[in-house]
């Protein structure tokens, strides 16, 4: 891969653009160093494949249109094990099919990026209905890292972040896109190459004889060994010991999954990213993620103009959930509002954390279209 080094200059299109959210994903992936993409057609994610098929060969990468979602996710996993930075993109119905691969990648600790452009069942309308599936859609024990962009710019930024987190924690990272932002054209500023931070994969310094593929510190991923250099690792979904052999060991199983989940849940300070708006004097706080952040911010402006002191916690990292921060906020305010575009799923998670401290009001819309600021503000006033 990357034989066409002369084309590397086309990788990062620094400057100001007016582009589709789906295109911003592609530019973000390329800026992060993505050099393998496989996907199976599905709206509203198709523009990602379309531009990838043009852009990846330009920079010496490989684009494959898979025969289905299973091929796509497993080939992305394989490419990553071979040393590539790899990604796939799909939409809700296709995301279902990929769960098996996501479970496998989580269990054998393979960095890769999955874009799920959420859509309503069978229709291209906007929704955030997959938010719980993104956490634990596959069988078995694992923790997901899920990022929720709210704009074309953030689709660019968070796709880069997704690649970096995937490498750092040797875990699949899901970018939770939505019809709303994926099919929206917006201003996107692509920075100069020098100011884009890229996490480079580290390889073991041990020899093949010394190397134990699944030996790692507590709550940390193991070191990678380079493929094709004499290190033999069986990447099996089954329980395996630190040396990669497959003898069942109940204590070892417990320890393995403590580490695989612990590397995410015990590193929340690094992984959980949020943005705060007007929290200092807030009597009530909106918690929102993805595109719903946008009308929520406008609703806050309306509320503040009327003297209602309301703030917002915007979740960039949706999973793992930033439990401590959310609890702390709930202790000091009168009410929490959860704004989301589904039947009210993430709100239940917020209730779990906040109900001992303050009431939680759910502002949901499940009609294939984003909230208007007026709708959110009306719901705030009703509960105030």
């Amino acid at each position: 891969m990357n034989k066409n080094i002369k084309h590397e200059g086309r990788r990062i299109k620094s400057g100001i653009h007016f582009i589709l959210g789906n295109y911003a994903v592609v530019e973000g992936a390329l800026a992060a160093g993505c050099n393998y993409f496989a996907g199976y057609p599905i709206t509203p994610a198709n523009e990602i494949s379309e531009l990838m098929s043009k852009r990846l060969p330009e920079v010496g990468g490989i684009f494959v249109q898979g025969e289905d979602e299973l091929f796509s996710i497993y080939s992305v996993i394989s490419a990553s094990l071979a040393g590539a930075k790899s990604m796939t993109a799909t939409a809700s119905a296709g995301f279902n099919y990929m769960q098996e691969g996501i479970g496998y990648a989580s269990a054998v600790e393979v960095p890769c990026v999955i874009i799920d452009v959420q859509r309503c069942r069978g229709e291209n309308f906007a929704t955030q209905a997959d938010v719980m599936q993104m956490r634990w859609g596959a069988s078995g024990d694992y923790e997901s890292i899920v990022l929720a962009p709210s704009s074309a710019q953030e689709l660019f930024d968070f796709t880069i972040l997704a690649f970096n987190l995937a490498e750092e924690f040797r875990n699949p990272v899901i970018v939770m896109s939505e019809t709303t932002i994926a099919l929206m054209r917006e201003r996107v500023e692509i920075p100069e190459k020098e100011s884009i931070e890229i996490y480079k994969r580290m390889y073991t310094s041990l020899t093949p004889e010394e190397y134990l593929p699944f030996k790692a510190k507590n709550n940390s991923p193991p070191e990678f060994a380079p493929m094709g250099k004499g290190y033999h690792t069986l990447y099996t979904l089954n329980y395996r010991n630190e040396d990669g052999t497959m003898d069942w060991d109940a204590q070892g199983y417990k320890k393995l999954y403590q580490r695989i989940t612990g590397k995410i849940s015990e590193n929340k300070d690094k992984i959980c990213i949020t943005e705060s708006y007007f929290l200092n004097d807030a009597d009530a706080v909106i918690i929102a993620y993805g595109s719903e952040v946008r009308p929520a911010l406008d609703a806050i402006e309306m509320a503040r103009n009327d003297g209602l002191k309301i703030g917002m916690l915007k979740l960039i990292t949706v999973w793992p959930i930033h439990e401590n921060l959310i609890k702390e906020i709930a202790k000091n305010i009168r009410r929490i509002f959860v704004v989301e575009m589904n039947i009210g799923k993430y709100a239940k998670e917020i209730e779990r954390l906040c109900l001992p401290f303050c009431p939680v009001t759910n502002i949901t819309k499940n009609m294939g279209i984003i909230h208007t600021k007026e709708e959110i503000y009306a719901a705030i006033k009703e509960a105030w």
């Binding site: 653009h17 007016f18 099919l183 201003r187 595109s291 009308p295």
Partner: protein
Amino acid sequence: MKPLSVRIGGFGGQGIILTAIILGTAAVKKGNLYAVQTQSYGSEARGGECQAELIISDKPINSPTTEYKDIFVALFQSALDKYLITLKKKGTLIVDPKLVTKIPSIEANIYQVPATETAIKLGNRIAANMVVLGFLQKFIKMISKEDLREVITSMVPKKFIDINLKAFDAGVHFAEDLEITMEDIG
């Protein structure tokens, strides 16, 4: 500046979304402004319902759509019938009289631009959207004619650049004698 919201509605194949993209591109890349463009359309290549929305602002834009538009361009009767309700009171309505014949009496500034007729005279009816764009430019002061001409040149296929620019200029000409203030827009 106050954010400006525009809706263009018609049927697939009229270049409705392209018109919105050209405006947005000029706003962002030439005017260093913010723009958000969304759309909805049927699965047909030509003939299905199609509409595009665009918001332009000098500040980042939160809500990606607005309930009421400052400007509504209707390029087909069914689009007018469906979306007229989303035009602001005293907003600006631009129609192609060949394709929109029934306009209810409303409180709006109504302009009839013979876009299709002009484009046919220039040699290709498909350039009607550029006539509309040239006319629309008069109402969107933060984007210059020159910027739009440059963006058109960079975005349409080479062999159609000439007719598109001619159509654009014809639209600019139709709007030449209009005196537009921001109050007129809505």
